[in-house]
């Protein structure tokens, strides 16, 4: 499982800001994600209407989630598949291990899956003698480097070409150590070759699921590399890991959401492979798995239903929020300290690991609102982060100094006459101090500000209210 470092967000962020390699990688956010999404959205004039439709489809499904899940499961079984309902991460890990053992599996290939990261499937399999092999290019190098993903669609977003070359040289020791990687393509080709034999040897293939379809009992994966398809087509057993909020009623519903997904994620009109899997190999089929298992995972999500956080369950994991987040854009994903970074993670992580541990995340936002403005299903992310701040305040998890300062300020702000008198004095003093300077390089109690910025001095002449009262008295 991803080691939780969310409580150290501040320290993580400070380290990230000083990491030149990471900053070089993060500088790619703008050209690679912003521009491409904007272009794809501009190419579909109906995009705004589709966002509203996407939101409504998800809301409708969540309001009837119990029905659609049962309907979905019945259809899976009809097609010869098996659904494993799991309330907790423990149950899900056990279910996956049981299926792999029943299949006599030695190696398991894996498509990229965030829920797999959430559950810590790899460690669990490994500790029971089964070798998991990540096959998404980004996940593959992270497995070699023993690092968690830093982004939900570009897991190795934080790495540069040098890192890839170094890791490949260290790990692929059977190849000529003096080989030259002249182009990115050389790295890709080496990975393709290395992984091809793993695909062919795997006993079980594990993928995630972008959608589950109640109409047909299908699980849907969306990829560009084709690794997910090889993972689920070649071995004799396919396991799809999916959390309960992935279900939608029909193919038409999934289609509308697919129109939003790739455009929001990578700026493609459609991903290269959108694959619908339904049950087991049919009679006469020349390929495809003989067993099809869906591990259906709750792990805390049902608790969000009926609360102010229910809207988060609309998320289709496109990553547009983190791609456009100015905080993620300078800290990267590892600083957030768990599986899901950026704005969506700042809402989801406290739900899944506890706000006492992930309390920083919903606070580490300027509420600039750009995440909400690009969200394909219109999740009001700042509002949900604010709800977490409210819970923290209620539970006295808000830092003491913040509470004290806020309390003092609020006491005055609620009493206009006192406030007027106090601000007049305070601003008078500050103006006096700043006289002739216009600004302060350092200010007690405001070190957070003055460490990297000057503090402008108030305009001389007193507060607006005082000056305005004077002009009124003088009958201007």
């Amino acid at each position: 499982m991803v080691h939780l470092t969310s409580p150290a967000f501040k320290e993580n962020a400070t380290r990230a800001l000083a990491d030149p390699g990471l900053q070089k990688a993060l500088a790619r956010t703008k050209p690679q994600f912003h521009g491409k999404r904007a272009k794809a959205v501009a190419g579909l004039p109906e995009f705004e209407q589709l966002r509203e439709i996407g939101k409504n489809i998800k809301n409708h499904t969540l309001a009837n989630l119990d029905f659609y899940l049962e309907r979905y499961a019945a259809k899976v079984e009809e097609a010869g598949g098996k659904v494993h309902w799991c309330s907790t991460a423990d149950e899900a890990r056990a279910a996956v291990l049981r299926i792999c053992r029943d299949a006599g599996a030695k190696t398991v290939t894996k498509g990229k899956s965030m829920i797999s990261e959430e559950l810590g499937i790899n460690d669990h399999l490994e500790s029971h003698g089964i070798t998991p092999v990540e096959t998404d290019l980004g996940e593959y190098i992270l497995q070699l480097r023993k690092e968690p993903p830093s982004h939900i669609i570009g897991p190795a977003f934080h790495l540069n070409r040098e890192d890839w070359e170094e890791s490949f040289r260290e790990s692929h020791t059977d190849l000529d150590p003096k080989r030259v990687f002249t182009e990115r393509r050389d790295i890709l080709t080496e990975a393709r070759t290395k992984l091809r034999s793993r695909f062919l040897a795997a006993d079980v293939g594990i993928t995630g699921a972008n959608f589950l379809i109640a109409e047909t009992g299908s699980s849907v994966i969306v990829t560009n590399e084709g690794n997910g398809d090889l993972t689920q087509t070649l071995p004799k057993v396919h396991i799809a890991l999916a959390s309960i909020e992935k279900v939608v009623p029909t193919l038409e519903d999934a289609t509308s959401l697919l129109r939003l997904l790739a455009r929001s994620a990578t700026g493609q009109d459609f991903s290269v492979y959108t694959t619908f899997s339904t049950g087991v190999r049919r009679q006469g089929d020349l390929d495809g798995p003989e067993e099809y298992h869906v591990v259906l995972i709750d792990n805390g999500r049902s608790n969000m239903i009926g609360t102010e956080f229910q809207e988060m369950l609309r998320c289709i994991r496109c990553a547009a929020c983190m791609n456009h987040c100015p905080v993620y854009g300078v800290t990267g994903g590892h600083a957030y300290g768990w599986v899901y970074p950026g704005p969506m993670g700042s809402v989801l992580t406290p739900t899944l690991v506890g706000v006492d541990k992930a309390g920083h995340l919903p606070n580490a936002s300027t509420f600039c609102g750009r995440c909400e403005s690009v969200c394909p299903v219109k999740i009001p992310l700042p509002k949900l982060m604010r709800h977490w701040r409210e819970r923290e305040f209620e539970r006295h998890l808000t830092p003491g100094t913040v509470r004290t300062n806020l309390g003092l300020w609020a006491w005055f702000a609620k009493r206009p006459a006192m406030y007027r008198a106090a601000t007049r004095l305070g601003i008078g003093a500050l103006s006096l101090l700043g006289k002739g300077k216009g600004k302060f390089g350092w200010m007690p109690l405001a070190e957070g500000w003055t460490r990297g910025r000057d503090l402008p001095a108030p305009e001389p002449g007193g507060t607006f209210m005082a000056r305005y009262a004077k002009t009124r008295r003088n009958g201007r």
Partner: protein, 256 residues
């Protein structure tokens, strides 16, 4: 036919009150020139945003009630800030749930008539030009709340376009947050400083001599960083330029 001038209550905002009174006077001038009768309710302190965004809903509600009671009698409420106007216009109604239908109704009524200054001038009063002169190359930062909650983007550019002598040079990534974020800037100073440094770099690269925006929080943040870097960029609230009052106060953080 007798035409009455609309009665507009100016919500000064705490930062303008404390830091930049000239913006308040500029707002009054612009509103009066556009035919409004401007009043400044005396009991105003703060819209409650710091409490609201810290999760202290109770305090935010108390402050909201004060504002609602003081401002509801007017035809319009105008603030020289997208952030405070957004707080009143977008967030107040949500503060009062079913348990307080009385204030919810009042909050909704107030929200419906609350506006940010520049967009009020253009969109409600139909102003399309101001009588002002400013010699300089100006760049403009779109503050987040105004931009995304209130849709303020074209309005300031339209009015700035009518200022004699002013040349507008667009700021790349003008829609990216400057890193102020209310209490964020002191809670996560390292991140905030990095964000405002990126912003300062973009500002300097435009070659503009003046940076304008419509929110004091962002302006203090950007001015503070530009001055720490020793940049010769003057920072002002857009209302000062539109009202032709740049002689009334030195640029933010400067003495002359």
């Amino acid at each position: 036919m007798l035409q009455t001038r609309p009665r507009v209550a100016l919500f000064v905002t705490c930062l303008v009150d404390l830091y930049r009174p000239t913006v308040g006077f500029a707002a009054i001038k612009l509103l009066e020139e556009a035919g409004c009768q401007v009043e400044v309710p005396e009991v105003q302190t703060c819209c409650g945003q710091p409490a609201y965004n810290t999760g202290d809903r109770a305090t935010a509600k108390d402050l909201a009630r004060n504002v609602i009671d003081a401002f509801l009698p007017y035809d319009h409420v105008v603030a020289p800030s997208g952030s405070c106007a957004g707080m009143i216009g977008h967030h107040y109604p949500g503060l009062f749930g079913d348990e307080d239908p009385h204030y919810r109704g009042k909050a909704e009524a107030l929200a419906a008539k609350t506006h940010e200054l520049v967009s009020f001038l253009t969109d409600v009063l139909g102003v399309d030009a101001v009588k002002a002169r400013y010699e300089g190359v100006v760049t403009y930062h779109d503050s987040c709340s105004g931009l995304r909650e209130l849709g303020i983007k074209a309005q300031p550019r339209k009015l700035l376009g009518s200022v004699d002598g002013l040349v507008l040079k667009e700021l790349p990534d003008s829609e990216v947050c400057c890193g102020f974020g209310g209490t964020f800037c002191v809670k996560y100073p390292d991140i905030s400083v990095r964000m405002v440094s990126d912003k300062a770099k973009d500002v300097r690269e435009t070659g503009a001599d003046t940076l304008l925006a419509g929110d004091m929080g962002c302006l203090l943040n950007m001015a503070g960083r530009l001055q720490r870097e020793g940049a010769a960029v003057k920072v002002r609230h857009v209302a000062e330029v539109l009202a032709g009052m740049t002689n009334d106060a030195a640029p933010i953080g400067e003495t002359k």
